[in-house]
């Protein structure tokens, strides 16, 4: 009787673990801590870029003044040799980290993305190469914010 009960319980445990596993895998993919950070400093810390060195090899193409903060085009090219990832941080957004792209198998360290900006802010780019982080930033003025309603 006891043995049977144990078997059933074990079986239930295995099933539960099986159901939970894919959810956990998904959560691990998206860096909740970094994207949930409410200051640029915390966001940089959680992607391991707190000590990023300033670099002129990161090219940011973006408007000086964006009329509409809901759609601000940002184009980034990293000329730092061996760049493996590019992250985009809008320093004054409620959640500053906007995106992080990892490049493999011949992808060039380049990305163009439209972001929302709540107010005039520095947009900071982090490039990771050879285990080190490099950064550059550009100030973009916003006439109408794109985060509230």
């Amino acid at each position: 009787m006891n043995k049977l009960r144990r078997l059933i319980l074990q079986g239930a445990g295995v099933v539960a673990a099986g159901l939970l596993a894919p959810l956990n895998a998904l959560a691990a993919t998206w860096n909740k801590e970094a994207f949930g950070a409410k200051s640029a400093a915390d966001a940089l810390k959680s992607i391991g870029a707190a000590d990023a060195a300033a670099s002129n090899d990161i090219v940011i193409e973006a408007p000086e003044i964006a009329e509409n903060g809901a759609v601000v085009p940002i184009e980034v090219t990293s000329n730092v040799p061996g760049t493996r990832s590019i992250a985009v941080v809008v320093e004054k957004n409620p959640f500053p980290l906007v995106a992080k792209f990892d490049f493999t198998e011949g992808a060039l360290p380049y990305v163009k993305v439209n972001v929302k900006m709540g107010e005039t802010s520095d947009v900071r780019i982090i490039a990771e190469a050879g285990g080190k982080s490099y950064t550059a930033s550009k100030n973009i003025k916003i006439t109408i914010g794109g985060c509230g309603g």
């Binding site: 860096n31 759609v71 959640f95 493999t104 198998e105 992808a107 990305v111 993305v113 972001v115 929302k116």
Partner: protein
């Protein structure tokens, strides 16, 4: 829920440029609807680009990417007819994908 995606991949000078458009509301969780209620946060979290089955770009994004996101990526190499696939997953677990041949 998942709206249509559009993609164009063109090879020029040894580089394949991939432009992709996704249909998604990208709600920030801060916008209010006409009744003054907050619209719940709903956004794409993960974007993956593959060339001939190999992952070339693995991206994570936040709700601060604009509505109906448009991305451009560049990959070294790639020839006419190569297969490009782009997929996304949002915070509800919804997903979508599209594929196209390099032109």
């Amino acid at each position: 829920m998942a709206g249509p995606m559009k993609m164009r991949a063109t090879a020029q000078g040894g580089v394949t440029e991939i432009r992709v458009l996704m249909t998604h509301p990208m709600e920030t969780g801060q916008r209010k609807d006409s009744d003054g209620k907050l619209v719940p946060v709903h956004f794409i979290q993960s974007v993956v680009v593959k060339l001939n089955g190999k992952t070339v770009v693995d991206g994570q994004i936040s709700q601060a990417v604009s509505r109906n996101p448009v991305f451009s990526f560049r990959v070294k190499g790639g020839a006419k007819g190569d297969k490009v696939e782009v997929s996304w997953v949002d915070n509800h677990g919804d997903s979508n994908q599209t594929e196209a041949a390099v032109a």
